[in-house]
Symmetry: C2
Subunit: 427 residues, 2 copies
């Protein structure tokens, strides 16, 4: 790796050209290696999956399959295994009665909630959203591409809201919710996707106290990284359900979490936590859709994770694998890009991503070059509604999947591509 | 049990009263026993669940979790594990490319398909069904209460279609589909719920060749009992997908199946089989909802069930438990009710139910008496759209869940209650 330490603007024209030529030659050499490196998605690596192998053997015979007197191998219990509700309530700080236990994906619970809003309406909806002339939705950005995908799929008008160091711009959100067509907002409150920002206490309190014009406004609280510390101890976080109830908004919030990055991604269990009144309403619709989600897998998770304290222990093992990967990315960015002033980034303490903001107009080109060099990244713009990043600046780096040595190679190539993209504009 | 052999109409008034008094005394004695017997739902019994315990241990360490080079413990493969598609295609007689592998409930796949029809429309829909002034739906009856529940939940107008010994009344269906508001039909083609009727080849061919006015008419082919023989060998059944394609209706049919009554109910895997064009369309919507269903559980099923031939072997073990239960119900009905002419019933060779048709006006009262005597049954009318059985006659008996001795007691009490209900009308 060629370390460049001087901002490009300080170079002479011929200096820029010489540097470009050198970097381009290195880039060509990398391309010839025909690498296949992937920093696109928040996929745990094999080493993490191997850490939780015991979940495969916690239930091995019929006698293991009974929980609270219930044979989990048979039909029944729409809202899920009581012991699974107790476990998620412990993790989230709410009550077991608030919890509906879902299948292997909290994304599906989110999608289904929105789908039901369209087909039947939520508890306080004047009518199904399919009968509304327009549905608008607040999208703190950069944010999670799959959230925006759900909104886009239903044809919502997505309104981007800037993210700051304490979370979304609450002044703007408080203003926007005065429009009764604004029906909800996506939030990843702890270790936000992609920046890893933790919403401040004040931000959380302002969300809980929102006064939306829409009676069925949905605060979609995707607590995907609720126990997902990478550096340092578990960070306590407020229970949004009780805060909303205290602020007179008991039915406004829908909180989601899953074990996808605790046990096996796509083969874990998920939870929708909301008011008991919302649960009663939603279950009156859900009973036509499913008899119950997979209670055998729910019991596997209860036996393996046990409770919040033990889940945090499991997460420390994950952090042991993830922390060196996050450090590798952060150190390489600092060394390669820092002195050049080509980008800024957060230094998250948890979650699954590192969010890089390049100088305007460099993201798309950087990722094109990465692709040519065999490094797959989340597409440019993916972190914005409609896939449109107005500054063409934000890039989400997912360090978890590659092995550490591959990751080191991938992030160095990324830095090389960012420099090339910047130099292309200078020469 | 008091055996009565003479049709009640042959008795004198005082003979009827004496018989009623005797039966009522027996009923009162039964009530005092405070029994708790359940013939309500098609739940496999514990003995059946224990038969398949090996599925709990087919994956015990990381090396077991690779299938076709794919680590099933991680995200990916929206349409499911390739090996699971191969297995279901073998069972159903279609191609792996036709199969989308779902979660623990085929009911959820059916519900979601209808939900997508409402929110987005099906592949050939002129508009989402939520924008249609009216959606009508054909409901062969008696039929499966949960099918009618889905239709009812979406506010469809349900049109009952009589069932005959070869399946639904096809003359009527061919007439009704000329109405463009008629958007689909529920079918359980093999061992129908509740009668256990197997649609004849001609019925299946007429379904495949339907010419509905609605371009997005959905033939909902719930092949829930595709390998669920109780008496006798596996009964081959035509592949509806190829028949529809041959008849020029490749995109009309959606076939569903699951392992709910093969491995663990509510913890198995499910399949939606349909044309590749439908798959492409549906997956373009499904990709916003889920990354994939639980592939670890998919692989457990592939390892345990292997293929169609071995699945049929597993089903023979289930039949070994179920056949004595079905025989017990059929023999008791024959002995207790047969000579009295109070009801008729099918003698199914497979499936999960025995469907009894009492003389008109006796079903609701019979089930009221059963409830008083501690025997829970599917509610009267449940097998008809809107829960309304016009003749108040059909009763679904589910023999699978109780142990054989409990079942014998339950079905004898049922016969007693039916006699009492009939006598109440005579005296």
């Amino acid at each position: 790796m060629i370390v460049t330490v001087e901002p490009f603007a300080n170079l002479t024209a011929s200096g820029k050209e010489a540097l470009y030529k050198t970097l381009r030659e290195e880039f060509d050499r990398v391309c010839e290696l025909k690498l296949k490196l992937n920093m696109a998605r928040g996929k745990p690596g094999k080493e993490q999956l191997d850490l939780v192998s015991d979940i495969l053997t916690v239930l091995t015979d019929p006698a293991d399959c009974v929980s609270d007197g219930l044979d989990v191998r048979n039909y029944g219990e729409l809202s899920g295994l009581p012991a699974a509700k107790v476990m998620f309530a412990d993790i989230l700080g709410c009550k077991p009665e608030n919890c509906f236990i879902g299948g292997s994906a909290s994304l599906q619970l989110m999608y289904d909630l929105i789908a039901k809003a369209y087909t039947h309406g939520l508890k306080n909806s004047p009518r199904p959203w399919s009968q509304e002339p327009k549905v608008k939705w607040l999208c703190p950005a950069p944010g999670y591409d799959r959230h925006f995908g759900v909104s886009g799929s239903f044809g919502m008008e997505m309104i981007p809201v800037p993210m700051g160091p304490e979370g979304p711009d609450m002044d703007l959100i408080e203003e926007l919710v005065k429009d009764p067509a604004v029906k909800g907002v996506w939030c990843v409150p702890k270790y936000s996707n992609p920046q890893g920002i933790v919403y401040s206490e004040q931000t959380v309190a302002r969300f809980a106290a929102l006064k939306p014009a829409a009676p069925d406004f949905a605060l979609m609280w995707d607590n995907a990284y609720c126990v997902h510390e990478v550096f340092g101890d578990y960070l306590p976080f407020p229970d949004i359900l009780s805060l909303c109830a205290e602020a007179g908004n008991p039915d406004m919030v829908y909180e989601f979490a899953s074990t996808s990055k605790i046990t096996f991604p796509g083969a874990g269990i998920s939870v929708l936590a909301t008011s008991e009144a919302n649960q009663a309403y939603l279950q009156s619709l859900l009973k036509f859709q499913i008899i119950s989600y997979d209670k055998v897998n729910q019991l596997r998770h209860v036996r393996f994770l046990r409770n919040k304290a033990h889940t945090i222990e499991v997460m420390k093992m994950h952090a042991g694998v993830l922390a060196p990967k996050f450090s590798c990315v952060l150190e390489t960015l600092k060394r390669e890009i820092g002195p050049l002033g080509l980008a800024t980034w957060e230094e998250p303490k948890g979650g699954y991503f590192i969010s890089v903001n390049t100088l305007p107009g460099l993201a798309r080109r950087t990722l094109e070059l990465c692709k040519q060099a065999g490094v797959t990244m989340t597409g440019a713009g993916a972190t914005y509604p409609y896939g449109k990043d107005p500054a063409d600046s934000n890039i989400r780096i997912a360090p978890s999947y590659p092995a550490l040595e591959e990751l080191r190679q991938a992030i160095e190539i990324f830095c090389l591509c960012l420099k090339l993209a910047a130099l292309e504009k200078e020469i």
